[in-house]
């Protein structure tokens, strides 16, 4: 049972053998996504085999091309205490131009809800959140 002093500020990602390449990329300031060496499809989140062809020949590569806002939601209540300073919290899904339907979930930082538009260009940013963990986040690509 969780007690008060164990409630996380924000849950930290716990990399495993399958996902490590993604989080290592984040620490290096790069959005690296799992790609099948056999059929060349990208997939996210990473998995033990390619969901398109079943191959286990997978690796992580920097994702080429841009990102577009696929959809989003806005939370006005913090889902954990550590999100309180981020309210209203925008949870977004970015779609990769490299492959239709390839989505990545993160927060949309540096903008307000009213500025969000379906298909708006996004750029990844890398947010250190303590204990050596770095999150992939997104912000609008306009105004750079």
């Amino acid at each position: 049972m969780a007690v008060a002093d164990e409630i996380p500020l924000r849950p930290l990602p716990w990399p495993d053998a399958i996902s490590a390449g993604f989080w290592e990329g984040a620490k290096a300031g790069e959005l690296r996504i799992q790609k099948c060496r056999y059929c060349e499809r990208w997939q996210h989140p990473p998995a033990i085999a390619c969901m398109a062809c079943g191959s286990e020949e997978l690796g992580f590569q920097p994702l080429p091309g841009g990102l577009r806002l696929y959809s989003w939601t806005v939370l006005h209540d913090a889902p954990a205490p550590g999100f309180k300073t981020m309210l209203p919290l925008i949870l977004g899904l970015a779609e990769a131009e490299a492959q239709q339907g390839l989505l990545i979930a993160a927060n949309i930082l540096g903008t307000g809800e009213s500025a969000l538009r379906l298909g708006m260009p996004l750029t990844p940013v890398f947010e250190p959140i303590g204990e050596g963990h770095v999150l992939v986040q997104f912000k609008p690509a306009t105004g750079q």
Partner: protein, 396 residues
Amino acid sequence: MIWEHRNRIAVAGVGYSAIGRRSGRTLASLTLEACKAALTDAGLDQREVDGIATSPSMPRYGGRKGVDEGVDVVTPHYLAELLGVAPQIAWTGSTNAMVTQSLIDGALAIAAGLCRHVLVYRALHVPDGRYVNFDSAFATGPDQFLAPYGFSMPPAWVATVMRRYFELHGYSRADFARYIVDNRDNARRNPNAWCRDKPLSAEDYLSTRMIADPVSMLDCDLPVDGSCALLLTTTERARDLRRKPALLTGFAASTHNGGSAIPMTLEHMLEGGRQVAKRLWETTGLSPAEVGSAQLYDGFSMLVVTWLESMGFCKDGEGLAFLRDGHGALSGSLPVNTGGGALGEGRLHGMTQIAEAVLQVSGRAGERQVEGAQHSLATISNGLSKATAFLFARAD
């Protein structure tokens, strides 16, 4: 190809426990009440039950999780003991998928001759603690890509589905109000519904608290303490029992995973639903035009829209307009969730839809009866893997 057992298996009894919130009752007590009610409804002695099936697991997030028999879960083996029928049980089924997968298993067990009278039940309760939350310091497995962003909550996933649908097709929450109100009106005609005494206006809907904008409290079904049970048997046997049976014309299950950054997306839900629809219409030999009422899973309001479209009742993007214009009301061309669905009845994981379809085709839906309906459809879950659809027919 038409299913060879079409209309040969039937639901002969429906039973509900009292539906409450933090009632203090154990799952075992709720389950026994529902199962005994289903047996009484069918006019069957419990000594004739020889098959039992359920999905005993609780939802993924939130609240205290336990595995104590009778308190946190009720497995078929434990229920057999509680009913004092363990020695005669020839078949049990237990699934991690939605409970409605158990209905398929039970029907097939009867068709295969393994057993004759099967109880299919679901019991849920409101656990201690916040129901929707993620309360670990570290996020592992699929949650490592969700929880660090505050995304480990199903209402947020479905909110992205609703937001995308709104943006693609030019809708807003105001377009949902008519359906939410029509649905509550249906619940008020359903003696089993948690919300039967709670009227609701469009203004109430539009001013209610957001959980994950644009998904509000009133777009999510309410966790309740409750249980629902069905008694399944052959149609031949059912004709000797107390009630007019509801014949199982056919069923289909989704195998479309569509693995993505979150567990549900608009396009994958529609694709999974379309695959279910194709199998259902092919194996039953029927079409959407022959459905008199549709019980479409509404763990979230948005799912009603995706089911309307994927099952072939509406074109893409037109499902919400269909509801907004009242076509899904009790007086409309396709009454939807005639008993108020899970939004009105409480969260029983799809048993609501099955039970209502059964009551409609057996002419037992009281004030909310749709006249002349030969078939009722029930769909469960979101169209992705583990989602199911069932078509029930009126017995001649």
